[in-house]
Symmetry: C2
């Protein structure tokens, strides 16, 4: 939802028509949004929701570090202009789901400023790295966004859900969402004597989710959360070191933040066999309760995915994780997976 | 949000094109949605969000009982067909915000079946009247909806927010929302061994709001909530009787469910003066804590609005409410409102 709020503001600001009233089919030119091929699928869903269709979201290839290729982005923008398509918005990701990679926010901000595009940052995973003294340089440029989505249930370790959206232009934010209702008239006195929050979002009624965040920050202070983010990234780097020491484990993507992608690879197996093997390792770790490891596929290669987002994680947990991957992997080599047990 | 889920399913089902991929501007014909002039503004916001624009929502006049005029609806559908606009969906309201009126759900269901339209019911206020033995006849036909939005934080008195949407066609529901993500692969084992709820909605992450509802129903049973809804409606009828006994109070709309619209009217004042007078009465009741009465405007006439949605309400509270309206109203007649104190 946090991304939807920002993208709807972007769509309406860039439409070239009163989109609230007239709709997408009244736009003088089709709009194009850009994101890397690592973008979260909630942005596909947003394109569907917003009536733009997934055709309006152009996936820009990512480089070896899983960051949006800026040359490819610029070329696509030029090509779209030539085709009569209006470049509208670049969705930069600060912390991809797959690998934690962070797009070059400053370069994207420069490009958006030069081309007159809306810059939306999906910072659901990584925006709060701004709080972390040892790693905040990773998100340099984040403050230049026109809209920014962040998940306080991730970076701030709050109970979910508590997504959040910041939109730079308050007027644009409000005219995207505000409706006048005869039964909701603003007053200067009485119980409705404040700005209506629903004028800035989709829900008319919503719970007071901000309370838990306010109390967490009052109790602990923002600095502590910054230190915990640094701690998680340091633990991811520690895990990366453990993986490097093990010849049967392959690191599958650079470790940038608190996400680590790797796999068990005894050699001599094709991608399908490695996927089957690592999926079974993941499931057994989940089923035995050793670790809630997930999986993903990066550049066509399946891998295990560790996201260290709980401040109670200790290095010994990561030692155990590596031991168990090796132990289960070795067991599976000795006793191949029965055909009927596959998880997919 | 509950209405948005249903309307998005309706839009995609009726688009005549793969709207997920191609967007609103690829539709062969513009779509039209219909609702009464009493419809909640969240539906305006939904039309904006969905890229259809508010032009796609046709407001059908309501009759003296604030129900959608079926003759006007049929005429509008015919006129739209003649104009090359595709009638897509009728939004029936089961419990309008202004007055609690309930559209003729059976007649609308018949019309939608005959014309091949999607029937969405906004039952956020009134859907749960199906639980109330003495009044469930008011929502006859509700089970024929293609999609139904209800707010369990209203009818079930649960802490907000906990909206809910039912969509009849499970396949249509799923293909409206489901996206495939490499990092969210469904498994038959492990911690992801279940259907993903985000395949049926907009949020990827969401809190377990259903838990409180499940516990409430386990603790109290659905029958008790039905009795409480009957109780609220009976209290609204009691309040309506009190108003009828007071020559200085005018009932402003028929009392159908647990919503009562009335105003203080000492006679000899125009609409603007009555609005000013009743707004001040409302604000003083809010400020003194006597009652959280709101206001609205129906058929151009301002009124106070009482929604009895708390099971702790007693008849003596309603006696006090009427006494205080009369007392504050009389005070204001004796001491006119200072110019600077107006609430707007």
């Amino acid at each position: 939802m946090a991304n939807i709020i920002g993208l709807m503001a972007a769509r309406n600001a860039m439409a070239g028509v009163d989109l609230r009233q007239e709709g997408v089919d009244a736009m003088p030119q089709p709009l194009r949004f850009y994101a890397s091929d690592q973008v979260h699928t909630c942005h596909h869903k947003a394109m569907n929701l917003l009536g733009l269709g997934k055709k309006s979201l152009c996936k820009i290839p990512s480089d070896d570090a899983f960051r949006m290729d800026m040359g490819a982005l610029k070329a696509q923008i030029r090509a779209d202009c030539d085709q009569g398509i209006k470049p509208a918005c670049v969705i930069a990701t600060a912390g991809t789901t797959n690998t934690g990679s962070i797009d070059d926010l400053s370069a994207i901000a420069d490009l958006c400023a030069a081309e007159g595009l809306w810059m939306h940052i999906d910072g659901c995973i990584g925006a709060l790295i701004v709080l972390a003294p040892r790693h905040r340089h990773l998100v340099t440029g984040i403050a230049r966004a026109d809209s920014l989505a962040l998940d306080l249930h991730k970076g701030l370790q709050a109970p979910f859900d508590v997504g959040c959206t910041l939109v730079r232009d308050r007027r644009q934010h409000r005219i995207t969402f505000a409706e006048d209702a005869e039964y909701l008239q603003k007053m200067s006195r009485g119980i409705a004597a404040a700005e209506f929050l629903h004028d800035y979002s989709l829900d008319t009624t919503r719970g007071f989710r901000a309370l838990k965040i306010w109390m967490m920050i009052k109790e602990h202070g923002a600095q502590k959360f910054g230190r915990l983010i640094d701690q998680g990234i340091a633990q991811a780097q520690y895990l990366t070191g453990l993986i490097a020491d093990q010849p049967l484990l392959d690191q599958m993507a650079p470790t940038v933040i608190d996400i680590v992608c790797f796999r068990f690879n005894p050699g001599g197996r094709d991608e399908a066999a490695l996927r089957e093997l690592n999926t079974e390792i993941m499931l057994r770790m989940q089923e035995t309760g050793v670790a809630a490891v997930s999986d993903t596929t990066v550049k066509g290669r399946h891998c295990l995915r560790v996201a260290i987002c709980n401040h109670r994680t200790r290095r010994m947990d990561l030692d155990l994780l590596v031991q168990e991957v090796l132990r289960i992997g070795s067991d599976l080599l000795a006793t191949p997976i029965a055909a009927e047990s596959g998880g997919r």
